[in-house]
């Protein structure tokens, strides 16, 4: 199994704060790698560093064998990386359609891809010409994910997609992400919801204080309750 994305010895500073303190991680091709850990462990910073939004101060990041740690964010995106930030960051002044038009940067949207997305998120079809700012939180999350998959991408970086969503929508999201994975995409997923993590994850990394404190298979962690409690403590939501 080759690793699509690899970080070795990555440090990131924000202002005078040393957030990432030597991260080594790999996201194997075609798998879902979960990034777990309590709030403030550095998960979001890891995704933003990969995306070049908060550049690494040292260390190496490779995507498909190519070094990307000193590239600008647009260059990284153009190498086939999609980012779904925690805040969703839909363009609220633009319509749902316009949001997706922008996300499809290689040309007009592919109708088949669009139908496939509508299959998971029918709400997007209904509110196709509404301003994204008028959508509900769940609908914004759907739009944000749709934006990341409107064109096929090699790597998806997704930050807490289930946060604050109703359980029904969480189920739809999980189905969608499974389908994306089946289509061959590699996913690095930050998640607090252990249920979603167990459903989706192939591998798992647990972060604390800017370092990775555990790595292994998701199934192994899912079946080892004492290990979960030791690594994740009370920060995870109840095991649904």
């Amino acid at each position: 199994m080759t690793d699509l994305l690899k970080l070795s010895g990555v440090h990131t500073h924000i202002g005078r704060y040393h957030i990432l303190q030597g991260i080594d991680l790999a996201a194997p091709q075609g798998q879902v790698t979960m990034l777990l850990g309590r709030n403030g462990a550095g998960k979001t910073t890891t995704l933003r560093t990969i995306m070049g939004l908060w550049p690494a101060s040292s260390g190496e990041i490779t995507l498909g064998g190519e070094r990307i740690e000193s590239r600008a964010t647009p260059d990284i995106a153009q190498r086939g990386v999609s980012y779904v930030p925690e805040s969703m960051a839909v363009f609220s002044d633009l319509t749902v359609k316009e949001n997706l038009v922008l996300a499809a940067r290689d040309g007009p949207m592919d109708d088949k891809q669009l139908e496939w997305i509508f299959g998971f998120f029918p709400a997007l079809r209904r509110f196709w010409l509404s301003r994204a700012g008028s959508l509900s939180g769940g609908q914004k999350q759907m739009l944000s994910i749709a934006r990341a998959i409107i064109e096929p991408r090699k790597l998806l970086l997704i930050d807490e997609p289930t946060k604050g969503l109703a359980p029904a929508i969480v189920m739809a999201l999980i189905e969608c992400l499974k389908e994306i994975k089946r289509k061959g995409a590699t996913i690095l997923l930050v998640e607090q919801n252990f249920f979603a993590a167990r459903e989706l994850g192939d591998n798992v990394l647990v972060m604390d204080n800017g370092t990775i404190v555990h790595r292994g298979e998701m199934a192994a962690l899912a079946s080892d309750v004492p290990l979960q409690e030791r690594l994740l403590g009370l920060s995870l939501e109840a095991h649904q």
Binding site: M51, P74, P85, F91, D93, A103, F120, A166, A168
Partner: protein, 336 residues
């Protein structure tokens, strides 16, 4: 199951029309105050023309701020440069300017305006690279750098053209007025209004109907996400900056023809005016800038007629009133 989400109540998109009604209400309220309908019409037409010219000059400033959070205190320099460049074309073709033929006049006017826009736009490229890029993201230094740029630009104009006022006569066929009954509306004002409207409509079409416009609007809201989608926003910004500079140059030519003279100090005078306009409109909002420009012009013209002394501070009073009502301007488009 996702249907659950799909049936979430969707708040009706509200169109915020209060700001649009404001200039209309202002115009209506002043009819009885002014008394004579023909005077009112003349004043209103004059305001529209003035407002459109201010809008053309200010539109770039507001977009540049909205997109990249850049406060350009040197924007007025592009206005003056545009006006001076036009004199370069006007002087050698004085005969064509004086000719009593619309087409001959336009044959000078159009190239002059285009050349002004090209030079102002090119200057915009230099300013963005030299003065703004190094201090990108630092407001204080941006203000200082661009103010320094304004000083240097003005002084260079003085050095090249001398400190005297340069006359810029209006082409013959644009002189005089259209007479409708007992209402006289200056021909040039009609032209200025038409150009302003054309610029406004063009900007609106680009912003709303093209992918480039979508990118600009998206960038005003969240430039980081635009980059994460794979677009180089710095390049986009440079394009917007140069376009805004070119429009300021066009506005400068129009203003110079309106005043029939050119002087480097026009950049100071107009800087204050366009600042008031973009503040009133809400930094980053083209629609707000358009309404703000018309409001400023209406208040200046009506005020000048009704209470001449008050007209001197009418801009400030208008700005204070608007900001008391909406502290971030008529339309707040950025979250900053």
């Amino acid at each position: 199951m996702t249907e659950l989400a799909a049936t979430d109540p969707l708040p009706k998109p509200k169109r915020d029309i209060a700001p649009i009604l404001l200039p209309i209400a202002l115009a209506l309220v002043t009819i009885p105050l002014i008394g004579s309908p023909s005077t009112w019409l003349t004043l209103t037409a004059a305001s529209l023309a003035m407002g459109m010219m201010i809008f053309i000059m200010a539109s770039g400033l507001t977009l540049v701020f909205g997109l990249m959070d850049v406060l350009n205190f040197g924007h007025g320099a592009f206005i003056a440069v545009g006006a001076y460049i036009a004199t370069l074309v006007f002087a050698p073709f004085a005969a064509s300017v004086q000719a009593d033929s619309l087409w001959v006049n336009l044959a000078v006017l159009a190239p002059a305006a285009l050349l002004s826009m090209a030079v102002s736009g090119a200057l915009g490229l230099v300013v963005e690279r030299v003065l703004i890029l190094p201090v990108y993201g630092q407001h204080l230094k941006q203000i200082l750098m661009t103010t320094g740029g304004l000083i240097v630009a003005e002084q260079t104009l003085y050095a090249l053209w001398g400190p005297q006022i340069i006359p810029m006569p209006l082409p013959t066929s644009l002189r005089g007025s259209f007479i409708l009954g007992d209402v006289a509306i200056a021909k040039y004002r009609v032209l200025a209004t038409l150009i302003g409207l054309a610029v406004f409509i063009a900007i609106q079409l680009v912003l709303n109907r093209t992918k480039l416009g979508l990118l600009i609007r998206a960038g005003v809201e969240n430039r980081e996400m635009v980059e994460a989608l794979g677009y180089r926003i710095r390049r986009l910004f440079l394009g917007v900056f140069m376009t805004g500079s070119a429009l300021a140059g066009l506005g400068g030519v129009m203003w110079a023809l309106y005043r029939e003279q050119v002087h480097a100090s026009m950049s100071d005078e107009l800087t204050v005016l366009i600042f008031v306009v973009v503040i009133i409109g809400g930094l980053g909002s083209i629609g707000g800038c358009f309404i703000g420009a018309i409001l400023v012009a209406l208040v200046a013209n009506y005020g000048g007629f009704l209470v001449p002394k008050l007209a001197l501070v009418s801009n400030i009073l208008l700005m204070v009133a608007i900001l008391m009502w909406r502290p971030r301007g008529l339309y707040a488009v950025t979250s900053r």
